[in-house]
């Protein structure tokens, strides 16, 4: 059984708990082991790298060293995976930071570990045929808009995965579980989350543009792989119809939640109840409209 | 170890690539240690192992073949 060193990161411990549980459940089902990195710490993104980039690299480096005994790291959160990937590139050339790590009893050996995101790990599993036969309830007829946001496939030199402007890996995964991905325009546009406290108006305009584009493309749901995108796109919807011209509410889910549903994994484990806009059964909705 | 040791390294460089590359290093004014003495050979195919042995027997500190 192949195994990854699992790096949940802070979001998956709290606001994105359902990403964590659904990802673990799906990988358990397809037989790919996830061993949580013991005593993992902050990935070095968010505030740290704005204050001191070297400290951020060192913090990320600590996690890399801790994981090196287990195997390659899978870090579901887009920020975590990019932060750790960037650290690998930097540590290759940054002797002083490596020395600092050694002083702390952590020897980093370049090339000893690599990092991938949850989408990357799942994409590989799909390509290797690991989900074949695991899809018991294919999501036939469900139209999904795969949303990548800013960091999942960018910057390309660090992400080193998929096309930075027109990615298609999540679509491939959605097809594998029977859903129908829509071709739409805003899959790599900014969701605006980073500016919610600075310029709320701008953020909400960006959220509206992304969601309306998905709605115009006739999507039933938006799937994402970033805790911050999911949170931002989902939780602001209830207030946006009136003031921001959101056409209607649309569920925003982690791609792993939909995969889990297709594999008949228990809804509790998938955390479907945690989603702010719930995925309404299409037929129910149609019935409502008729009624 | 002596500080700043001076070596004599005999280089056998292919006329078409490395020798031209060494010329280019000159054109770009890239400095490198003066220990290397480059001999121009028409192709590394010309590189007879005897040349390397001869250089080492005559006291060269190293032999560099490039092509």
């Amino acid at each position: 059984m192949p195994a990854y060193a699992y790096f949940p990161g802070c979001s998956l411990e709290a606001s994105a708990k359902e990403f964590d549980t659904s990802f673990r459940a799906v990988f358990d089902k397809i037989g790919v082991g996830l061993k949580e990195i013991p005593d993992w710490s902050c990935c070095g993104s968010s505030q740290v790298h704005k204050v001191d980039k070297d400290v951020a690299t060192a913090i990320a480096g600590r996690n890399l060293v801790l994981a090196s005994d287990i195997g390659d790291i899978v870090a579901p959160c887009a920020f975590c995976s990019i932060s750790l990937k960037e650290a690998i590139i930097k540590l290759e050339h940054e002797g002083p930071i490596r020395s600092t790590l050694i002083e702390a009893g952590l020897e980093y050996l370049p090339g000893s570990v690599s990092v991938i995101s949850a989408v990357e790990a799942t994409y590989r599993a799909v390509e290797e045929g690991l989900i074949d036969g695991k899809v018991q309830s294919p999501l036939t007829g469900l139209k999904v808009a795969a949303y990548y946001g800013c960091l999942l496939v960018r910057p390309p030199k660090i992400a080193q995965f998929d096309d930075p402007e027109n990615p298609s890996s999540m679509e491939r995964i959605m097809v594998a579980v029977g859903a129908a991905p829509v071709d739409w325009s805003h899959k790599t546009e900014c969701c605006g989350n980073a500016y919610i406290f600075v310029n709320k108006d701008m953020t909400l305009n960006l959220v509206r543009d992304v969601l309306n584009a998905a709605i115009e493309a006739n999507a039933d749901a938006v799937v994402t792989a970033c805790p911050l995108c999911q949170q931002n796109l989902a939780m602001r919807q209830p207030h946006m119809k009136q003031n921001y011209g959101l056409k209607r509410e649309i569920p925003v889910l982690y791609f792993t939640q939909l995969m889990g549903a297709a594999m008949n994994i228990d809804g509790q484990q998938l955390g479907l109840s945690g989603n702010i806009v719930r995925l309404i059964n299409k037929r129910q909705q149609e019935a409502k409209e008729v009624g | 170890m002596v500080e700043n040791p001076k070596f004599k390294i005999i280089g056998f460089f292919c006329n078409w690539c490395s020798y031209a590359g060494a010329d280019l290093a000159g054109n770009l004014r890239l400095t490198y240690p003066a220990d290397l003495r480059i001999a121009r050979i028409p192709c590394t195919g010309r590189m007879d192992p005897l040349f390397a042995l001869k250089a080492l027997l005559e006291g060269a500190d190293g032999v560099m073949v490039s092509g």
């Binding site: - | 000159g26 490198y32 195919g45």
Partner: protein, 671 residues
């Protein structure tokens, strides 16, 4: 005993600034064999050369060492110098004191010591030099021109007009190349076909030119003046000698209008039997065997037929039935033609960047995002829309047209780092053509910088802006997506420092950059030359020898060297013709005497040299029962691999013998 003279050049301050030339010159006199030593300001100058000549004569020198710049720079100059003094020109050795010493060494003392060592090595080597005489080879005064675009056409016509025979090989069914696909040309707005077609006809009618279309070069052997080339003439299935060009067959092909026509960049269809465009030269159709129903159906003679069953019949064959001349010949096979040439001209042209790498511009999937070459066909009156500018998605006239420059060019992340040189100009031209055909359309051009260096070019771009009302916006477009039957475009205006968002865009034209032909590296390997890291053919010297390539007798012109416009392609074609003319003005050529020779008395006939020779220049011979290896001097390229492989030391490379190299090693380390 050898009498060696040493001459150290100051090269102004280039060498003397770092190397103590006087000390080197004084020390040189103590090297065994040296009887004279001096130093000059510039050895390559007329005065410097005179000093060398006089010193050789006065001191009865028989060998010369010159400590100067790289032998790649002035070896030939100094060979002539020593020859003028009466010595064999190969009794010379250059010590590279500039590129390998003064320009690369920081410390003066170390530089001086290294210079002394290199002079010793040169003296050691020259001590064993022997006089060499160049061989003579006749020149085959026929030229092969590969590629029938405007560059190839110009080169072929110029060479043929000098009175030499030319064979032109073109891969496509017709000559004409990229220029034939263009509508108008900048900055004069001449109709491209109108100025090109007469040249194409000239090629076809020129008594000295033989045209081989639908053909490719398979193999090149030999050397300057004597190339042996194998050309594959692909089966056309139409006999060129009989076909009258009535094109009756094309109208009857059941696949007509079913196959995308490459000439129209896939924007208009063709049949399985077709000429790519109306002015094609030769006006003889080809049958595309990938599509033709007759050729794809099984051959009745090769199908096993059971008793009682009928033999299957070939499908279709309509073209053969309608041809009154009987020119259609389904049994035609590829033909391999072997020809001898004295010179080869490469004019294989360029390709265009594939914009599917630009996901932000729809990755090639948005129908109304087209390339500039698509636009050329669309705006051309013999193109797919008969010259009407329409949106491919719905055939309607566009109201808002946006041009985006530098798609693929100057983009290190997704494309190539270089500037494609022609895009600023053709974009301005296309903006003008939009205005001429659609007086009410809004025209926007997004650019990074305008590069309009050429006669009348800057004025042309200004005219596009001022007279034709094209709105130039400086900035990159970051995103295009479809919305409500139009497109939305997001960009930055870097002069104002503001983001731009444009709705209701109807047509986007991408100025895709020029790239090398995808098989240029393969072709270069076939011919034995090199390309740069982008696949363009490398010239010997970008400034002083811009149309010669590192294999003697091979020349290149046009956009296979680097992106360029028509005037530059034509100018380089003329330059190539002049170079070929210079070559062909010789009846015989001197061959490099630094080739291998094998002493039959020492040869043990082991055959090691035969197996290692990369040029198949060594064969086994027999004389009175004794076997020995023999070098074909015309084929030997002087690599010396045989010499390294030869155990008895029978194979020696002239000018680079074992003795010479071993002595120079000894000289550096022991003297």
């Amino acid at each position: 005993m050898a009498r060696v003279g040493v001459f150290i050049c100051h090269c102004g301050a280039n060498i003397a600034g770092k190397v103590d030339v006087e000390a080197v010159s004084e020390a040189a006199i103590n090297i065994p064999g040296v009887v004279y030593s001096s130093h000059q300001k510039y050895s390559c100058s007329e005065a410097g050369q005179k000093v060398i000549i006089d010193a050789i004569k006065e001191n009865r020198l028989d060998r010369v060492v010159i400590g100067s710049c790289s032998p790649k720079m002035h070896e030939n100059t100094f060979r002539k110098t020593v020859q003028q003094a009466g010595l064999n020109s190969y009794m010379l050795e250059i010590a590279n004191l500039r590129e390998h010493v003064s320009w690369v060494t920081a410390d003066k003392d170390e530089a001086t010591k290294k210079a002394m060592d290199l002079v010793k090595a040169a003296v050691g080597k020259v001590s064993f030099a022997k006089p060499l005489t160049p061989g003579q080879v006749p020149v085959e005064k026929r030229a092969l021109v590969i590629g029938g675009g405007i560059a190839g056409i110009q080169a072929a016509l110029d060479i043929a007009d000098m009175g030499y025979e030319v064979v032109m090989v073109e891969r496509e069914p017709s000559i004409g190349g990229r220029m034939a696909q263009l509508d108008k040309t900048f900055p004069t707005l001449d109709c491209s076909a109108c100025i090109l077609s007469p040249r194409m006809v000239d090629v076809a009618q020129h008594p000295n030119i033989r045209l081989l279309t639908y053909s490719e070069v398979e193999n090149v052997n030999g050397y300057v003046g004597n190339f042996n080339v194998i050309i594959r003439k692909k089966a056309r299935f139409v006999d060129e000698r009989i076909c009258t060009g009535c094109l009756e067959c094309m109208g009857k092909c059941p696949l007509k209008k079913k196959i995308p026509n490459e000439f129209e960049n896939g924007r208009a269809p063709r049949g399985a039997i077709y000429v790519p465009f109306a002015q094609a030269v030769p006006k003889v159709p080809v049958i595309d065997k990938e599509y033709c129903r007759y050729l794809l159906s099984p051959d009745p003679d090769k199908v096993e037929v059971k008793e009682g069953e009928k033999k299957p019949k070939r499908k279709c064959g309509v073209c053969a039935k309608v041809c009154t001349q009987g020119a259609v010949d389904f049994n035609q096979q590829d033909e391999l033609i072997s020809e001898k040439f004295g010179a080869i001209v490469l004019a294989t042209g360029f390709n265009l960047f594939d914009h599917s790498k630009y996901g932000e511009y729809g990755a090639g999937k948005i129908p109304d995002v087209i390339t500039a070459l698509d636009f050329e066909r669309i705006v051309n009156s013999s193109g797919p829309t008969e010259g009407k500018i329409v949106r491919p998605s719905n055939g309607e006239k566009p109201k808002r047209v946006v041009f985006i420059q530098c798609v693929g060019s100057r983009d290190e992340a997704k494309g190539v780092p270089y500037c494609s040189r022609i895009c600023c100009m053709y974009t301005a031209k296309q903006a003008i053509l939009v205005r001429e055909k659609l007086p009410d359309a809004e025209i926007y051009v997004f650019y990074m910088d305008i590069r309009a260096a050429g006669k009348g070019y800057e004025e042309f771009v200004l005219r596009a802006q001022r007279e034709y009302g094209a709105n130039y916006v400086r900035g990159r477009v970051s995103r295009i997506y479809e919305s409500n039957g139009h497109m939305v475009l997001k960009a930055a205006d870097t002069l104002v420092g503001m983001p731009v968002e444009m709705d209701d865009v109807d047509l986007v034209v991408l100025a895709t950059g020029s790239i090398a032909r995808e098989d240029s590296v393969e072709l270069a390997n076939t011919i034995g030359i090199t390309t740069d890291n982008h696949g363009f053919i490398s010239e010997v010297h970008p400034k002083l020898r811009p149309v010669e390539v590192p294999r003697e007798g091979v020349f290149a012109c046009g956009a296979c060297l680097s992106p360029r416009d028509i005037p530059d392609a034509v100018a380089t074609a003329g330059a190539v013709a002049a170079k070929v003319g210079v070559l062909f003005s010789n009846d015989i050529l001197m061959s490099d005497p630094m080739v291998a020779e094998i002493d039959p008395l020492k040869c043990a006939a082991c055959g090691a040299c035969v197996s290692v020779c990369p040029y198949s220049a060594i064969t086994m011979e027999e004389f009175r029962g004794k076997k020995f290896a023999k070098v074909n001097e015309a084929m030997c390229q002087g690599c010396g691999t045989c010499s390294a492989a030869c155990r008895p030391g029978a194979a020696q490379l002239k000018g680079q013998t074992d003795e010479q190299i071993l002595r120079s090693i000894e000289a550096v380390l022991q003297w």
